[in-house]
């Protein structure tokens, strides 16, 4: 693996790798492996660009092509959810796959939007912050559709209930979810939990958020209209989670050497609550063409996705990004996963009014650049071009793999093990062994978001899944 690279240069001495430099030095060794890219993936980036990538481009491709962002191994299965949608299913579907969240017409001019997302590995590293920032990310997706978030749900999988490390993860995750959601006033209206040893070291933390909107309030995030301004607003960009999306979320959790930047993100639910109100006001006053949230892969993701969904071109001056840590390099800024940030596309005539609204909410803002019709995503750093790519190659046309699959034979035994084999009804007091594995967590702080929050589905009534053989 590569040792010292341009990605880890000491602050102050950092000179970013420019497009011209990349063309001139085709043989420079690059740390693609440490960033989670396979050799053939790296070679295909070279082929797409017709030269070696700059370090900034390499940063973008590596995060966007990670499993975490590109779903390169699961895409071929997930695709079916889009392909199998029939016209009947589409009847009330206002927005389907491919956008920040799905939208369903519920009648009377109202619509509901919801999205579930996992934040698994971060929640294992630092359960409280990992789960909390998971809620933050999913709620920003709801906001970007133009909806007001109203509730969250969670679906959790933890390691064996008696294992040493399980309690740390359970307590952290449950209180992280409730803390963040409560600060936003969102009740947790349902949940489900399973404990099983297959999730040891790899818990699943799925959070769903629901939002409500009027039909006319629906917005899609895309960068259309050359000349429209691209604005970054919300929290400042720091060194958060730089190791998270690339190194830690790569296909093995042990890949990569030590990172000097933290792999965790710390959430600020207060900043998010302010963003909710600020975005709803921007939409209400019709001051934005679209808003995209920044999640994993931060600016790399938001710029390339917005550009891919629009007319295809965008120009960004990366040095305009407001920083929390002035020593960040251009590559780190591209990869940062700092939370509570949004990117808006704003018509130049509305920019002043836009800035007045974000200012009112004490939200920091910087105009980074504009939409272009060049079909290229160009990013400059202090006047020098460090990225020049076709946005779709970063955001949409990443590698897709058909991994080898095998039938899990243990599943036959599991499925054969039905309730029919059990003796007759027993008094409710007797506790079977398997039911203890499904127990709802009651040990951690309970927080309520609103008076409606007492309604929740009972997880204890759900069937307990406990594979007899580890997968």
């Amino acid at each position: 693996m590569t040792t010292e690279t341009e990605l880890t240069q000491a602050p102050g001495t950092h000179v970013p790798d420019t497009v011209a430099n990349a063309a001139a030095t085709p043989d420079r060794e690059q740390p693609y492996a440490a960033l989670g890219l396979k050799e053939d993936e790296y070679l295909s980036i070279r082929e797409i660009l017709g030269r070696r990538p700059t370090s900034g481009e390499l940063a973008m491709y590596s995060v966007m092509w990670s499993e975490h962002c590109s779903y390169k191994s699961s895409k071929m299965y997930l695709r079916q959810f889009g392909e199998k949608v029939s016209p009947t299913m589409k009847k009330n579907l206002m927005v389907g796959m491919g956008e920040n969240a799905g939208v369903v017409d519920v009648g009377g001019g109202w619509a509901v939007t919801f999205k579930g997302e996992s934040h698994n590995h971060p929640s294992y590293i630092e359960p409280f912050q990992g789960a909390a920032t998971g809620v933050g990310g999913i709620v920003r997706d709801i906001i970007s559709m133009g909806a007001r978030p109203v509730a969250v749900m969670d679906q959790l999988r933890f390691g064996d209930i008696d294992a040493d490390d399980t309690r740390r993860v359970v307590d952290g995750v449950v209180s992280g979810i409730s803390f963040y959601a409560n600060c936003l006033g969102l009740p947790n209206i349902g949940g489900e939990t399973v404990f099983d040893k297959v999730y040891q070291g790899n818990p699943l933390v799925n959070v769903l958020s629901v939002g409500v909107l009027r039909h006319e309030d629906l917005h899609l995030a895309n960068a259309k209209g050359a000349g429209n301004k691209v604005v970054l607003f919300g929290a400042r960009t720091g060194g958060d989670g730089i190791g998270g999306a690339s190194i830690l979320a790569s296909d093995t959790f042990s890949a990569g050497g030590p990172t000097k930047r933290p792999s965790v993100q710390v959430g600020d639910p207060f900043a998010e609550k302010v963003l909710i109100e600020c975005c709803l006001e921007l939409f209400r006053d019709e001051l934005v063409e679209g808003i995209q949230d920044l999640g994993a892969a931060g600016i790399s993701c938001a710029t390339s996705e917005l550009a891919s969904n629009g007319d295809g071109g965008m120009f960004i001056e990366l040095d305009k990004v407001l920083l929390r840590d002035p020593t960040l390099t251009a590559e780190e800024i591209l990869m940062s996963e700092s939370q509570e940030r949004m990117m808006a596309v704003v018509h130049p005539s509305k920019l002043d009014a836009f800035l007045a609204v974000v200012d009112k909410w004490d939200v920091e803002t910087s105009v980074l650049g504009e939409v272009t019709d060049t079909g290229r995503l160009v990013i400059n750093w202090h006047g020098e071009e460090i990225v020049n790519v076709e946005p779709r190659t970063v955001a949409v046309d990443g590698p897709v793999y058909e991994r080898p699959v095998a039938y899990p034979t243990w599943i036959d035994e599991l499925q054969a093990d039905t309730a029919r084999g059990l003796p007759g009804p027993r008094p409710a007091t007797s506790s079977g062994r398997s039911s203890s594995r499904c127990s709802a967590h009651r040990t951690s702080p309970t927080r309520a978001g609103s008076p409606t929050s007492t309604t929740r589905m009972s997880s204890a009534t759900r069937p307990c899944r406990s594979p007899t053989t580890a997968a």
Binding site: C183, F270, K273, V274, T446, P451
Partner: protein, 236 residues
């Protein structure tokens, strides 16, 4: 009557408070924390939520907001002010009422439908209740434990400044089961539980009569209307 509801960054229950005002028959006026303008309202509500994320101390940063200078002035002139939950914490931080709040004694966030006894039915926000009447409204907080030194507790108990007391269970370890406090004059009232969430049938606490039918909170808002008209509110 026009009643102002102040929105702070992080307020959560401002819109519910506005609706409660409307349901009681008054006109809600949205006020902004960053402004010095009370827009001529005749009463003010500081709503619940997590203003400034409850960072530093719950209500502390909000109590430094520009509008709070005006709220303190108005309160001292006799304008009715109600602080609900986070608003109660702001009133304490702004020293409009005695005491302070700390984290709940059991360290956990709590949410329940809470029984309260009205200990002082003479304030601007309680005159529609009967002295000693028991009511049920929702409670939800993490930093709800009301505390003060012995002398202060003795004083407020002696002067009838304890407006509400928890009944059945003390949910957060508040001294003397105190759930709500008023200033000496009785125009400023702060309490932990949320009257604004119990003002509309179908959305309130359960009652023996029917699920979600509790509307005990509405009387807070009809009381202040009565106080402004200098009439007696219809006793419930």
């Amino acid at each position: 009557m026009r009643i102002g509801v102040v929105t702070f960054p992080g307020s959560l229950d401002d819109r519910d408070a506005q609706r409660a005002v409307r349901l009681a028959g008054a006109t809600p006026v949205a006020l902004w924390h960053g402004s010095h303008d009370l827009e001529g309202v005749e009463a003010i509500i500081l709503p619940g939520g997590f203003s400034y994320g409850d960072y530093l101390r719950a209500g502390a940063i909000a109590s430094l907001s520009p509008i709070m200078t005006e709220v303190v002035d108005a309160a001292n002139k006799g304008v009715p002010v109600l602080g609900i939950c986070n608003g109660f914490q702001m009133l304490a931080e702004a020293r409009l009422i005695p005491g302070a709040h700390t984290r709940n004694a059991h360290q956990q966030f709590i949410r329940r439908d809470q029984r309260l006894r009205v200990e002082n039915a003479a304030t601007d926000w309680t005159n529609g209740f009967e002295q000693g009447q028991e009511i049920t409204i929702p409670l939800k907080n993490a930093d709800g434990r009301f505390i003060a030194d012995d002398e202060t507790i003795k004083r407020i108990e002696g002067q009838g400044q304890v407006a509400f007391r928890y009944v059945g269970v003390n949910p957060n370890g508040s001294f003397d089961d105190i759930a709500g406090v008023s200033n000496e004059r009785g125009n400023v009232v702060g309490l932990m539980p949320h009257p604004e969430h119990a003002t509309e049938p179908g959305f309130g606490p359960d009652t023996p009569a029917a699920m979600s039918s509790g509307v005990d909170g509405l009387t807070f808002f009809t009381s202040v209307i009565a106080a402004s008209l200098k009439i007696e509110a219809p006793v419930k």
